[in-house]
Protein backbone atom coordinates (compact mmCIF):
# COMPACT_ATOMS: atom_id res chain seq x y z
CA UNK A 1 0.00 0.00 0.00
CA UNK A 2 1.27 3.52 -0.68
CA UNK A 3 2.50 5.46 2.31
CA UNK A 4 0.94 8.84 2.87
CA UNK A 5 2.40 11.50 5.12
CA UNK A 6 0.13 13.57 7.30
CA UNK A 7 1.32 16.75 5.61
CA UNK A 8 0.74 15.30 2.18
CA UNK A 9 -2.70 14.12 3.28
CA UNK A 10 -3.68 17.69 4.04
CA UNK A 11 -2.24 18.77 0.71
CA UNK A 12 -4.19 16.09 -1.10
CA UNK A 13 -7.43 16.99 0.66
CA UNK A 14 -7.03 20.59 -0.44
CA UNK A 15 -6.22 19.58 -3.99
CA UNK A 16 -9.15 17.19 -4.21
CA UNK A 17 -11.63 19.72 -2.88
CA UNK A 18 -10.30 22.51 -5.10
CA UNK A 19 -10.72 20.18 -8.05
CA UNK A 20 -14.17 18.99 -6.99
CA UNK A 21 -15.79 22.32 -6.20
CA UNK A 22 -15.14 25.64 -7.95
CA UNK A 23 -16.36 27.46 -4.84
CA UNK A 24 -13.42 26.26 -2.79
CA UNK A 25 -10.48 28.65 -2.58
CA UNK A 26 -7.52 29.13 -0.27
CA UNK A 27 -6.37 32.18 1.64
CA UNK A 28 -3.29 32.54 3.74
CA UNK A 29 0.22 33.79 4.23
CA UNK A 30 2.94 32.40 1.96
CA UNK A 31 0.65 29.73 0.58
CA UNK A 32 1.74 30.36 -3.00
CA UNK A 33 5.25 29.16 -2.26
CA UNK A 34 3.77 26.75 0.27
CA UNK A 35 5.88 27.72 3.26
CA UNK A 36 4.03 25.11 5.32
CA UNK A 37 4.19 22.65 2.40
CA UNK A 38 0.47 22.04 2.83
CA UNK A 39 -0.34 24.00 -0.30
CA UNK A 40 2.53 22.60 -2.38
CA UNK A 41 1.74 22.49 -6.08
CA UNK A 42 -1.66 24.11 -5.72
CA UNK A 43 -0.78 27.52 -7.14
CA UNK A 44 0.40 25.94 -10.33
CA UNK A 45 -2.62 23.75 -10.63
CA UNK A 46 -5.36 26.14 -9.54
CA UNK A 47 -3.94 29.60 -10.13
CA UNK A 48 -3.58 32.69 -7.99
CA UNK A 49 -7.31 33.45 -7.89
CA UNK A 50 -7.92 30.30 -5.87
CA UNK A 51 -4.62 30.14 -4.01
CA UNK A 52 -4.50 33.64 -2.65
CA UNK A 53 -1.56 34.95 -0.73
CA UNK A 54 -2.68 37.51 1.80
CA UNK A 55 -0.94 40.42 3.41
CA UNK A 56 -0.47 40.21 7.19
CA UNK A 57 -4.05 41.29 7.83
CA UNK A 58 -5.45 38.29 9.64
CA UNK A 59 -8.60 39.93 10.92
CA UNK A 60 -9.57 41.24 7.52
CA UNK A 61 -8.83 38.09 5.58
CA UNK A 62 -10.71 35.98 8.12
CA UNK A 63 -13.77 38.17 7.71
CA UNK A 64 -13.21 38.35 3.97
CA UNK A 65 -13.63 34.57 4.09
CA UNK A 66 -16.83 35.00 6.08
CA UNK A 67 -18.20 37.37 3.49
CA UNK A 68 -17.28 35.07 0.63
CA UNK A 69 -18.90 32.15 2.45
CA UNK A 70 -22.07 34.13 3.05
CA UNK A 71 -22.61 34.21 -0.70
CA UNK A 72 -21.76 30.59 -1.30
CA UNK A 73 -17.99 30.27 -1.51
CA UNK A 74 -16.07 27.72 0.57
CA UNK A 75 -12.87 29.37 1.70
CA UNK A 76 -10.08 27.53 3.46
CA UNK A 77 -7.93 29.86 5.53
CA UNK A 78 -4.48 28.74 6.53
CA UNK A 79 -2.88 30.17 9.68
CA UNK A 80 0.85 29.90 10.19
CA UNK A 81 0.68 29.94 13.98
CA UNK A 82 -1.96 28.71 16.43
CA UNK A 83 -1.86 32.07 18.24
CA UNK A 84 -3.18 33.76 15.12
CA UNK A 85 -6.50 32.23 16.08
CA UNK A 86 -6.43 34.46 19.16
CA UNK A 87 -6.04 37.41 16.85
CA UNK A 88 -9.12 36.46 14.83
CA UNK A 89 -11.15 35.01 17.66
CA UNK A 90 -13.71 37.74 17.34
CA UNK A 91 -14.02 37.27 13.62
CA UNK A 92 -14.59 33.53 13.96
CA UNK A 93 -16.64 33.27 17.14
CA UNK A 94 -18.60 36.50 17.06
CA UNK A 95 -19.19 36.64 13.33
CA UNK A 96 -18.71 33.46 11.34
CA UNK A 97 -20.21 31.27 14.07
CA UNK A 98 -23.11 33.56 14.87
CA UNK A 99 -24.31 34.60 11.44
CA UNK A 100 -26.72 31.73 10.81
CA UNK A 101 -28.65 32.09 14.05
CA UNK A 102 -28.58 35.87 14.12
CA UNK A 103 -30.01 36.10 10.63
CA UNK A 104 -32.70 33.54 11.36
CA UNK A 105 -31.26 31.05 8.93
CA UNK A 106 -30.71 33.35 5.97
CA UNK A 107 -27.16 32.17 5.42
CA UNK A 108 -24.42 29.69 6.09
CA UNK A 109 -20.73 30.26 6.72
CA UNK A 110 -18.81 27.29 5.36
CA UNK A 111 -15.26 28.35 6.16
CA UNK A 112 -12.41 26.04 7.14
CA UNK A 113 -9.60 27.40 9.31
CA UNK A 114 -6.52 25.24 9.04
CA UNK A 115 -3.56 25.38 11.43
CA UNK A 116 -0.76 23.15 10.14
CA UNK A 117 1.59 22.76 13.07
CA UNK A 118 -0.44 23.43 16.20
CA UNK A 119 0.90 22.90 19.70
CA UNK A 120 4.56 22.95 20.53
CA UNK A 121 6.99 23.34 17.71
CA UNK A 122 10.02 22.86 19.87
CA UNK A 123 12.05 26.03 19.99
CA UNK A 124 9.32 28.37 18.82
CA UNK A 125 8.50 29.22 22.43
CA UNK A 126 5.76 31.10 24.22
CA UNK A 127 3.78 32.78 21.50
CA UNK A 128 3.98 30.05 18.88
CA UNK A 129 3.22 26.89 20.84
CA UNK A 130 -0.41 27.06 21.88
CA UNK A 131 -2.97 24.39 21.38
CA UNK A 132 -6.18 26.35 21.68
CA UNK A 133 -8.71 23.80 20.47
CA UNK A 134 -10.64 23.81 23.75
CA UNK A 135 -11.45 27.47 23.22
CA UNK A 136 -13.30 26.64 20.03
CA UNK A 137 -15.04 23.69 21.64
CA UNK A 138 -16.27 26.13 24.27
CA UNK A 139 -17.43 28.58 21.65
CA UNK A 140 -19.24 25.78 19.84
CA UNK A 141 -17.30 26.00 16.62
CA UNK A 142 -16.74 22.62 15.04
CA UNK A 143 -13.20 21.61 15.98
CA UNK A 144 -11.20 18.71 14.65
CA UNK A 145 -7.76 17.41 15.59
CA UNK A 146 -6.78 14.57 13.27
CA UNK A 147 -4.28 12.08 14.63
CA UNK A 148 -3.40 10.11 11.50
CA UNK A 149 -2.76 10.80 7.82
CA UNK A 150 -6.02 9.12 6.85
CA UNK A 151 -7.97 11.22 9.32
CA UNK A 152 -6.09 14.35 8.31
CA UNK A 153 -7.29 13.79 4.78
CA UNK A 154 -10.77 12.68 5.66
CA UNK A 155 -11.55 15.27 8.27
CA UNK A 156 -10.20 18.16 6.23
CA UNK A 157 -12.34 17.09 3.30
CA UNK A 158 -15.39 16.91 5.54
CA UNK A 159 -14.55 20.27 7.10
CA UNK A 160 -14.48 21.91 3.69
CA UNK A 161 -17.81 20.33 2.79
CA UNK A 162 -19.43 21.27 6.10
CA UNK A 163 -21.89 24.16 5.97
CA UNK A 164 -20.58 25.60 9.24
CA UNK A 165 -17.20 27.00 10.18
CA UNK A 166 -14.71 24.31 11.14
CA UNK A 167 -11.30 24.72 12.76
CA UNK A 168 -8.78 22.05 11.84
CA UNK A 169 -5.77 21.69 14.13
CA UNK A 170 -2.96 19.64 12.66
CA UNK A 171 -0.57 19.09 15.58
CA UNK A 172 3.07 19.80 14.80
CA UNK A 173 3.91 16.52 16.48
CA UNK A 174 1.76 14.65 13.95
CA UNK A 175 2.76 16.47 10.78
CA UNK A 176 5.60 14.12 9.89
CA UNK A 177 3.70 10.89 10.51
CA UNK A 178 3.32 8.46 7.64
CA UNK A 179 0.92 5.60 7.26
CA UNK A 180 -0.26 3.13 4.68
CA UNK A 181 -3.31 4.65 3.07
CA UNK A 182 -4.51 3.31 -0.23
CA UNK A 183 -7.38 5.53 -1.05
CA UNK A 184 -8.19 8.21 1.48
CA UNK A 185 -11.87 8.94 1.99
CA UNK A 186 -13.91 11.55 3.82
CA UNK A 187 -14.26 10.98 7.55
CA UNK A 188 -17.49 12.16 9.10
CA UNK A 189 -17.26 15.03 11.57
CA UNK A 190 -18.37 14.20 15.09
CA UNK A 191 -17.46 10.53 14.95
CA UNK A 192 -14.69 9.12 17.16
CA UNK A 193 -12.54 6.13 16.48
CA UNK A 194 -11.48 3.28 18.72
CA UNK A 195 -7.85 2.74 17.73
CA UNK A 196 -7.37 -0.18 20.02
CA UNK A 197 -9.91 -2.09 21.99
CA UNK A 198 -9.42 -2.95 25.63
CA UNK A 199 -11.39 -4.04 28.65
CA UNK A 200 -9.98 -2.32 31.69
CA UNK A 201 -9.74 1.36 31.03
CA UNK A 202 -10.70 3.78 28.30
CA UNK A 203 -8.02 6.30 27.40
CA UNK A 204 -9.31 9.26 25.46
CA UNK A 205 -6.42 10.84 23.58
CA UNK A 206 -6.44 13.90 21.37
CA UNK A 207 -4.40 14.46 18.23
CA UNK A 208 -0.76 13.41 18.29
CA UNK A 209 -1.26 12.04 21.79
CA UNK A 210 -3.24 9.16 20.29
CA UNK A 211 0.09 7.69 19.29
CA UNK A 212 1.49 8.10 22.78
CA UNK A 213 -1.60 6.46 24.18
CA UNK A 214 -1.23 3.55 21.78
CA UNK A 215 2.43 3.13 22.70
CA UNK A 216 1.65 3.16 26.39
CA UNK A 217 -1.22 0.75 25.88
CA UNK A 218 1.15 -1.63 24.10
CA UNK A 219 3.71 -1.38 26.85
CA UNK A 220 1.14 -2.10 29.50
CA UNK A 221 -0.52 -4.89 27.54
CA UNK A 222 0.49 -7.53 30.03
CA UNK A 223 -0.87 -5.67 33.05
CA UNK A 224 -3.88 -3.73 31.91
CA UNK A 225 -6.06 -3.86 28.84
CA UNK A 226 -6.35 -0.32 27.52
CA UNK A 227 -8.90 0.90 25.02
CA UNK A 228 -7.75 3.98 23.10
CA UNK A 229 -10.51 6.28 21.96
CA UNK A 230 -9.69 9.13 19.58
CA UNK A 231 -12.57 11.62 19.44
CA UNK A 232 -11.11 13.15 16.25
CA UNK A 233 -13.74 15.90 16.45
CA UNK A 234 -13.73 17.72 19.80
CA UNK A 235 -16.89 19.62 19.02
CA UNK A 236 -19.36 18.16 18.37
CA UNK A 237 -18.00 15.31 20.44
CA UNK A 238 -18.93 11.72 19.81
CA UNK A 239 -20.51 11.19 23.21
CA UNK A 240 -22.32 8.03 22.19
CA UNK A 241 -19.13 6.45 20.99
CA UNK A 242 -17.27 7.35 24.14
CA UNK A 243 -20.04 6.41 26.54
CA UNK A 244 -20.24 3.02 24.89
CA UNK A 245 -16.57 2.46 25.54
CA UNK A 246 -16.62 3.71 29.11
CA UNK A 247 -19.75 1.72 29.91
CA UNK A 248 -17.72 -1.38 29.14
CA UNK A 249 -14.42 -0.47 30.78
CA UNK A 250 -15.77 1.52 33.72
CA UNK A 251 -12.55 3.48 33.97
CA UNK A 252 -11.44 6.67 32.28
CA UNK A 253 -8.24 8.56 31.60
CA UNK A 254 -8.05 11.54 29.28
CA UNK A 255 -4.89 12.93 27.78
CA UNK A 256 -4.98 16.22 25.95
CA UNK A 257 -2.44 18.88 25.07
CA UNK A 258 -4.41 21.97 26.03
CA UNK A 259 -4.44 23.83 29.32
CA UNK A 260 -6.05 21.98 32.19
CA UNK A 261 -8.73 24.35 33.42
CA UNK A 262 -11.80 24.32 31.18
CA UNK A 263 -10.05 22.12 28.67
CA UNK A 264 -11.50 19.28 26.65
CA UNK A 265 -10.20 16.69 29.13
CA UNK A 266 -12.30 18.21 31.88
CA UNK A 267 -15.28 18.27 29.56
CA UNK A 268 -14.89 14.60 28.79
CA UNK A 269 -14.70 13.72 32.46
CA UNK A 270 -17.69 15.88 33.35
CA UNK A 271 -19.91 14.50 30.63
CA UNK A 272 -18.98 10.94 31.38
CA UNK A 273 -19.55 11.14 35.13
CA UNK A 274 -22.90 12.79 34.60
CA UNK A 275 -23.98 9.63 32.85
CA UNK A 276 -21.82 6.68 33.82
CA UNK A 277 -20.86 5.36 37.27
CA UNK A 278 -17.15 4.78 37.04
CA UNK A 279 -15.35 2.12 39.06
CA UNK A 280 -12.59 4.52 40.01
CA UNK A 281 -12.10 8.27 39.95
CA UNK A 282 -11.13 9.39 36.44
CA UNK A 283 -7.86 11.14 35.71
CA UNK A 284 -6.59 13.53 33.13
CA UNK A 285 -3.19 14.41 31.82
CA UNK A 286 -2.94 17.86 30.30
CA UNK A 287 -0.84 20.97 30.13
CA UNK A 288 -0.81 22.81 33.45
CA UNK A 289 -3.26 25.57 34.19
CA UNK A 290 -2.44 28.74 32.28
CA UNK A 291 0.52 27.10 30.59
CA UNK A 292 2.98 29.24 28.68
CA UNK A 293 5.56 27.12 26.93
CA UNK A 294 9.04 28.14 28.00
CA UNK A 295 11.70 28.19 25.31
CA UNK A 296 14.33 25.80 26.60
CA UNK A 297 13.53 22.36 25.19
CA UNK A 298 13.61 20.61 28.56
CA UNK A 299 11.11 23.09 29.92
CA UNK A 300 8.94 22.97 26.82
CA UNK A 301 8.71 19.20 27.17
CA UNK A 302 8.08 19.40 30.89
CA UNK A 303 4.92 21.38 30.29
CA UNK A 304 3.44 18.99 27.77
CA UNK A 305 1.54 15.85 28.71
CA UNK A 306 3.80 12.87 28.20
CA UNK A 307 3.84 9.12 28.39
CA UNK A 308 5.22 8.99 31.90
CA UNK A 309 2.28 10.89 33.30
CA UNK A 310 -0.11 8.86 31.22
CA UNK A 311 1.28 5.59 32.54
CA UNK A 312 0.93 6.95 36.02
CA UNK A 313 -2.67 7.99 35.45
CA UNK A 314 -3.59 4.62 33.97
CA UNK A 315 -1.96 2.83 36.87
CA UNK A 316 -3.81 4.97 39.33
CA UNK A 317 -7.18 4.55 37.72
CA UNK A 318 -6.72 0.81 37.32
CA UNK A 319 -5.78 0.28 40.92
CA UNK A 320 -8.40 2.44 42.52
CA UNK A 321 -11.94 1.24 42.75
Amino acid sequence: MPRLSYRKALNRALADELARDEEVFLLGEDIRVAASAVTAGLLKRFGPERVRDTPLSEQAFTSFATGAALVGARPVVEFQIPALLFLVFEQIVNHAHKFPLMTGGQCAVPVTYLVPGSGSRTGWAGQHSDHPYSLFAHAGVTTVVPATPADAYGLLVSAIRCDDPVVVFAPAAAMELRAEVSDPVPVPLGRGRVHRTGDDVTVVAVGHLVHDALAVADELAGEVSVEVFDPRTLYPFDWDGLLGSVARTGRLVVVDDSNRSCGIAGEVIATVVEQVRLQAPPRRVTRPDGAVLPFAPVLDRAVQPGRELLRHAIAHVSKDG
Partner: protein, 323 residues
Protein backbone atom coordinates in the same frame (compact mmCIF):
# COMPACT_ATOMS: atom_id res chain seq x y z
CA UNK B 1 -34.69 52.21 -7.40
CA UNK B 2 -34.97 55.12 -9.71
CA UNK B 3 -31.71 56.88 -9.14
CA UNK B 4 -31.74 60.57 -8.52
CA UNK B 5 -35.52 60.60 -8.61
CA UNK B 6 -36.44 63.24 -5.99
CA UNK B 7 -39.64 61.41 -5.24
CA UNK B 8 -37.82 58.22 -4.36
CA UNK B 9 -35.30 60.14 -2.30
CA UNK B 10 -37.93 62.02 -0.36
CA UNK B 11 -40.04 58.96 0.16
CA UNK B 12 -37.04 57.06 1.46
CA UNK B 13 -35.79 59.67 3.93
CA UNK B 14 -39.33 60.20 5.10
CA UNK B 15 -39.87 56.48 5.51
CA UNK B 16 -36.71 56.09 7.56
CA UNK B 17 -37.54 59.16 9.65
CA UNK B 18 -40.99 57.97 10.52
CA UNK B 19 -39.86 54.40 10.95
CA UNK B 20 -37.37 55.53 13.56
CA UNK B 21 -39.92 57.71 15.31
CA UNK B 22 -42.38 54.83 15.46
CA UNK B 23 -39.63 52.51 16.66
CA UNK B 24 -38.76 54.90 19.47
CA UNK B 25 -42.39 54.87 20.51
CA UNK B 26 -42.24 51.09 20.60
CA UNK B 27 -39.09 51.25 22.70
CA UNK B 28 -40.98 53.50 25.12
CA UNK B 29 -43.97 51.17 25.20
CA UNK B 30 -41.73 48.18 25.84
CA UNK B 31 -42.60 46.44 22.60
CA UNK B 32 -39.05 46.80 21.40
CA UNK B 33 -36.77 45.44 24.09
CA UNK B 34 -33.18 46.61 24.43
CA UNK B 35 -33.56 49.87 22.57
CA UNK B 36 -32.19 51.07 19.27
CA UNK B 37 -29.53 53.37 17.85
CA UNK B 38 -31.74 55.86 16.02
CA UNK B 39 -30.72 56.89 12.53
CA UNK B 40 -32.56 60.19 12.87
CA UNK B 41 -30.81 63.00 11.05
CA UNK B 42 -28.64 60.70 8.95
CA UNK B 43 -31.37 59.48 6.59
CA UNK B 44 -29.94 61.35 3.62
CA UNK B 45 -26.92 59.09 3.52
CA UNK B 46 -28.65 55.73 3.34
CA UNK B 47 -31.17 57.12 0.88
CA UNK B 48 -28.64 58.90 -1.34
CA UNK B 49 -26.25 55.96 -1.43
CA UNK B 50 -28.85 53.26 -1.99
CA UNK B 51 -30.51 55.32 -4.73
CA UNK B 52 -27.35 54.71 -6.73
CA UNK B 53 -27.31 50.96 -6.16
CA UNK B 54 -28.76 48.13 -8.17
CA UNK B 55 -30.85 45.42 -6.52
CA UNK B 56 -28.03 42.89 -6.92
CA UNK B 57 -25.51 45.12 -5.17
CA UNK B 58 -24.86 44.35 -1.52
CA UNK B 59 -24.50 46.50 1.56
CA UNK B 60 -23.22 45.89 5.07
CA UNK B 61 -24.66 48.15 7.73
CA UNK B 62 -23.79 49.22 11.22
CA UNK B 63 -25.25 49.19 14.72
CA UNK B 64 -27.15 52.30 13.58
CA UNK B 65 -28.46 50.24 10.76
CA UNK B 66 -32.20 50.66 10.19
CA UNK B 67 -31.74 53.27 7.49
CA UNK B 68 -29.40 51.09 5.46
CA UNK B 69 -31.70 48.11 5.62
CA UNK B 70 -34.79 50.07 4.63
CA UNK B 71 -33.13 52.10 1.88
CA UNK B 72 -31.74 48.95 0.30
CA UNK B 73 -35.28 47.66 -0.02
CA UNK B 74 -36.21 45.54 2.97
CA UNK B 75 -39.86 45.46 3.85
CA UNK B 76 -40.68 47.91 6.67
CA UNK B 77 -43.23 45.51 8.14
CA UNK B 78 -40.77 42.67 8.40
CA UNK B 79 -38.17 45.08 9.71
CA UNK B 80 -40.49 46.36 12.41
CA UNK B 81 -41.47 42.81 13.29
CA UNK B 82 -37.79 42.02 13.67
CA UNK B 83 -37.32 44.89 16.09
CA UNK B 84 -40.25 43.54 18.07
CA UNK B 85 -38.76 40.05 18.09
CA UNK B 86 -41.51 38.37 16.10
CA UNK B 87 -41.41 35.27 13.94
CA UNK B 88 -42.43 37.35 10.93
CA UNK B 89 -39.34 39.50 11.30
CA UNK B 90 -36.60 39.65 8.70
CA UNK B 91 -34.47 37.41 10.92
CA UNK B 92 -37.44 35.57 12.42
CA UNK B 93 -36.92 37.54 15.61
CA UNK B 94 -33.41 36.18 16.13
CA UNK B 95 -31.47 39.30 15.21
CA UNK B 96 -33.16 42.45 16.40
CA UNK B 97 -32.08 45.98 15.67
CA UNK B 98 -28.34 45.42 15.45
CA UNK B 99 -28.41 42.32 13.28
CA UNK B 100 -31.32 42.96 10.92
CA UNK B 101 -30.43 41.39 7.59
CA UNK B 102 -32.18 40.76 4.34
CA UNK B 103 -30.04 38.69 2.06
CA UNK B 104 -32.72 38.72 -0.63
CA UNK B 105 -32.49 42.51 -0.77
CA UNK B 106 -28.70 42.48 -0.68
CA UNK B 107 -28.44 43.47 2.97
CA UNK B 108 -25.75 41.33 4.60
CA UNK B 109 -26.80 42.69 7.92
CA UNK B 110 -26.53 45.47 10.40
CA UNK B 111 -23.62 44.67 12.67
CA UNK B 112 -23.11 45.24 16.36
CA UNK B 113 -19.33 45.33 16.13
CA UNK B 114 -17.92 48.62 14.96
CA UNK B 115 -15.66 48.21 11.94
CA UNK B 116 -16.59 44.61 11.23
CA UNK B 117 -18.62 45.00 8.07
CA UNK B 118 -15.90 46.22 5.73
CA UNK B 119 -14.03 42.96 5.30
CA UNK B 120 -17.22 40.94 5.15
CA UNK B 121 -18.73 42.87 2.29
CA UNK B 122 -15.36 42.90 0.52
CA UNK B 123 -15.29 39.11 0.63
CA UNK B 124 -18.87 38.81 -0.52
CA UNK B 125 -18.38 41.12 -3.49
CA UNK B 126 -15.14 39.43 -4.47
CA UNK B 127 -16.72 35.96 -4.33
CA UNK B 128 -19.70 36.92 -6.45
CA UNK B 129 -17.57 38.74 -8.98
CA UNK B 130 -15.41 35.65 -9.30
CA UNK B 131 -18.55 33.99 -10.63
CA UNK B 132 -18.92 36.69 -13.24
CA UNK B 133 -21.50 38.88 -11.54
CA UNK B 134 -20.61 42.54 -11.85
CA UNK B 135 -22.03 43.86 -8.62
CA UNK B 136 -20.50 46.36 -6.22
CA UNK B 137 -20.76 46.61 -2.46
CA UNK B 138 -21.20 49.30 0.14
CA UNK B 139 -19.80 49.22 3.63
CA UNK B 140 -21.45 51.77 5.87
CA UNK B 141 -19.39 52.80 8.86
CA UNK B 142 -19.24 55.52 11.49
CA UNK B 143 -16.48 57.97 12.23
CA UNK B 144 -15.53 55.79 15.17
CA UNK B 145 -14.92 52.82 12.90
CA UNK B 146 -11.94 54.39 11.15
CA UNK B 147 -10.01 53.79 14.38
CA UNK B 148 -10.58 50.05 14.24
CA UNK B 149 -7.63 48.11 12.93
CA UNK B 150 -9.82 45.45 11.36
CA UNK B 151 -11.46 48.07 9.15
CA UNK B 152 -8.13 49.52 8.08
CA UNK B 153 -7.02 46.00 7.18
CA UNK B 154 -10.14 45.69 5.07
CA UNK B 155 -9.20 48.88 3.20
CA UNK B 156 -5.92 47.19 2.37
CA UNK B 157 -7.54 44.01 1.05
CA UNK B 158 -10.13 45.85 -1.02
CA UNK B 159 -7.50 48.14 -2.52
CA UNK B 160 -4.95 45.39 -3.19
CA UNK B 161 -7.44 43.06 -4.75
CA UNK B 162 -9.36 45.85 -6.47
CA UNK B 163 -12.70 44.85 -5.02
CA UNK B 164 -15.33 47.49 -5.79
CA UNK B 165 -16.57 48.38 -2.35
CA UNK B 166 -17.65 51.89 -1.48
CA UNK B 167 -16.76 52.60 2.12
CA UNK B 168 -19.25 55.19 3.30
CA UNK B 169 -18.23 56.94 6.48
CA UNK B 170 -21.15 58.59 8.21
CA UNK B 171 -19.29 61.25 10.11
CA UNK B 172 -21.75 62.46 12.69
CA UNK B 173 -19.01 64.01 14.78
CA UNK B 174 -19.10 61.50 17.61
CA UNK B 175 -18.48 57.90 18.46
CA UNK B 176 -21.04 57.63 21.23
CA UNK B 177 -19.72 60.60 23.23
CA UNK B 178 -16.19 60.77 21.80
CA UNK B 179 -15.66 63.74 19.47
CA UNK B 180 -13.93 62.95 16.19
CA UNK B 181 -11.14 65.38 16.99
CA UNK B 182 -10.23 63.45 20.14
CA UNK B 183 -10.34 60.10 18.40
CA UNK B 184 -9.03 60.50 14.87
CA UNK B 185 -5.42 61.57 14.44
CA UNK B 186 -4.89 62.99 10.98
CA UNK B 187 -8.11 63.00 9.01
CA UNK B 188 -10.80 60.52 8.16
CA UNK B 189 -10.29 60.67 4.40
CA UNK B 190 -6.53 60.28 4.77
CA UNK B 191 -7.11 56.89 6.36
CA UNK B 192 -8.51 55.62 3.08
CA UNK B 193 -6.19 57.58 0.83
CA UNK B 194 -3.21 55.99 2.56
CA UNK B 195 -4.27 52.74 0.92
CA UNK B 196 -4.52 54.36 -2.47
CA UNK B 197 -8.29 54.55 -2.19
CA UNK B 198 -9.88 57.59 -3.77
CA UNK B 199 -11.87 59.58 -1.22
CA UNK B 200 -14.68 62.07 -1.68
CA UNK B 201 -16.56 64.18 0.81
CA UNK B 202 -20.20 65.12 0.66
CA UNK B 203 -22.87 66.91 2.64
CA UNK B 204 -24.72 63.98 4.13
CA UNK B 205 -27.76 66.09 4.88
CA UNK B 206 -28.54 66.50 1.19
CA UNK B 207 -29.77 63.18 -0.21
CA UNK B 208 -29.43 64.36 -3.81
CA UNK B 209 -25.83 65.39 -3.26
CA UNK B 210 -25.09 62.07 -1.64
CA UNK B 211 -26.69 60.32 -4.56
CA UNK B 212 -24.72 62.29 -7.13
CA UNK B 213 -21.39 61.75 -5.41
CA UNK B 214 -22.14 58.08 -4.89
CA UNK B 215 -23.23 57.59 -8.48
CA UNK B 216 -20.01 59.13 -9.73
CA UNK B 217 -17.94 56.89 -7.46
CA UNK B 218 -19.88 53.77 -8.44
CA UNK B 219 -19.47 54.55 -12.12
CA UNK B 220 -15.70 54.65 -11.66
CA UNK B 221 -15.83 51.51 -9.56
CA UNK B 222 -17.95 49.57 -12.04
CA UNK B 223 -15.55 50.61 -14.77
CA UNK B 224 -12.24 49.79 -13.17
CA UNK B 225 -12.98 47.63 -10.24
CA UNK B 226 -11.34 49.28 -7.24
CA UNK B 227 -12.80 50.52 -3.97
CA UNK B 228 -13.62 54.13 -3.11
CA UNK B 229 -14.29 56.03 0.07
CA UNK B 230 -16.98 58.58 0.77
CA UNK B 231 -17.12 60.72 3.85
CA UNK B 232 -20.63 62.04 4.41
CA UNK B 233 -20.79 64.79 7.00
CA UNK B 234 -23.92 64.48 9.05
CA UNK B 235 -25.47 65.01 12.44
CA UNK B 236 -27.19 62.59 14.72
CA UNK B 237 -30.42 64.31 15.81
CA UNK B 238 -31.18 62.07 18.74
CA UNK B 239 -29.43 59.88 21.28
CA UNK B 240 -26.54 57.57 20.53
CA UNK B 241 -28.88 54.87 21.75
CA UNK B 242 -32.29 55.11 23.30
CA UNK B 243 -30.79 54.32 26.70
CA UNK B 244 -29.67 57.95 26.56
CA UNK B 245 -33.32 58.96 26.80
CA UNK B 246 -33.15 57.70 30.37
CA UNK B 247 -29.55 58.46 31.28
CA UNK B 248 -28.25 61.92 30.45
CA UNK B 249 -24.74 61.93 29.06
CA UNK B 250 -23.02 65.27 28.89
CA UNK B 251 -21.19 65.72 25.60
CA UNK B 252 -23.16 67.88 23.15
CA UNK B 253 -24.40 71.33 24.05
CA UNK B 254 -28.03 72.25 23.34
CA UNK B 255 -26.72 74.88 20.90
CA UNK B 256 -24.71 72.32 19.01
CA UNK B 257 -27.71 70.06 18.79
CA UNK B 258 -29.95 72.89 17.62
CA UNK B 259 -27.43 73.87 14.98
CA UNK B 260 -27.08 70.30 13.82
CA UNK B 261 -30.79 69.72 13.63
CA UNK B 262 -31.29 72.83 11.53
CA UNK B 263 -30.07 71.01 8.43
CA UNK B 264 -32.68 68.32 8.13
CA UNK B 265 -32.41 65.84 5.24
CA UNK B 266 -36.13 65.24 5.27
CA UNK B 267 -36.85 68.93 4.95
CA UNK B 268 -34.15 69.36 2.33
CA UNK B 269 -35.46 66.50 0.19
CA UNK B 270 -39.05 67.60 0.76
CA UNK B 271 -38.37 71.14 -0.36
CA UNK B 272 -37.64 69.76 -3.81
CA UNK B 273 -41.16 68.46 -4.27
CA UNK B 274 -44.44 70.28 -4.67
CA UNK B 275 -46.31 70.39 -1.38
CA UNK B 276 -49.12 68.20 -2.65
CA UNK B 277 -46.80 65.50 -3.82
CA UNK B 278 -45.01 65.64 -0.50
CA UNK B 279 -48.27 65.30 1.36
CA UNK B 280 -49.26 62.31 -0.69
CA UNK B 281 -45.97 60.62 0.06
CA UNK B 282 -46.29 61.46 3.73
CA UNK B 283 -49.70 59.90 3.84
CA UNK B 284 -48.50 56.84 2.05
CA UNK B 285 -45.55 56.47 4.42
CA UNK B 286 -47.87 56.81 7.41
CA UNK B 287 -50.07 54.08 6.02
CA UNK B 288 -47.13 51.81 5.38
CA UNK B 289 -45.85 52.29 8.91
CA UNK B 290 -49.25 51.99 10.48
CA UNK B 291 -49.58 48.63 8.81
CA UNK B 292 -46.01 47.71 9.68
CA UNK B 293 -46.51 48.39 13.37
CA UNK B 294 -49.87 46.68 13.46
CA UNK B 295 -48.57 43.60 11.71
CA UNK B 296 -45.50 43.48 13.88
CA UNK B 297 -47.47 43.68 17.09
CA UNK B 298 -49.99 41.15 15.87
CA UNK B 299 -47.36 38.61 14.92
CA UNK B 300 -46.39 35.72 17.14
CA UNK B 301 -43.38 35.66 19.36
CA UNK B 302 -41.07 32.74 18.71
CA UNK B 303 -41.62 29.53 20.61
CA UNK B 304 -38.96 29.17 23.32
CA UNK B 305 -38.53 25.56 22.27
CA UNK B 306 -36.99 26.89 19.05
CA UNK B 307 -34.34 28.99 20.76
CA UNK B 308 -31.48 27.11 19.15
CA UNK B 309 -32.95 26.91 15.70
CA UNK B 310 -30.58 28.13 12.97
CA UNK B 311 -27.58 27.81 15.29
CA UNK B 312 -25.90 25.49 12.83
CA UNK B 313 -26.47 25.60 9.12
CA UNK B 314 -25.13 22.06 8.85
CA UNK B 315 -27.99 20.70 10.89
CA UNK B 316 -25.86 19.96 13.92
CA UNK B 317 -27.91 19.86 17.12
CA UNK B 318 -26.37 21.48 20.17
CA UNK B 319 -26.51 19.88 23.59
CA UNK B 320 -28.82 21.94 25.75
CA UNK B 321 -27.82 23.50 29.03
CA UNK B 322 -28.95 20.56 31.11
CA UNK B 323 -30.81 20.58 34.37
Amino acid sequence: MSGADPIWLYRTVRLIRRFEERAIELVRSGDIVGGIHPYLGQEGIAAGVCAALRPDDVVAGTHRGHGHVLAKGADPGQMMAELCGRVTGLNRGRGGSMHAADFAAGVLGANAIVGAGGAIVTGAVWARRRRGEDLVGVSFLGDGAVNEGMLLEAFNLAALWRVPVLFVCENNGYATTMPVADAVAGSISARAEAFGIRASTVDGQDPAAVHATTAAALARMRADGGPEFLEARTFRFDAHHTFEHAVRLDYRSPEEVARGRSRDPVRIAGSRLPAAERAAIDADVEAVLEAAVAQALAAAEPDPATALEYLYASGLTARTGGG
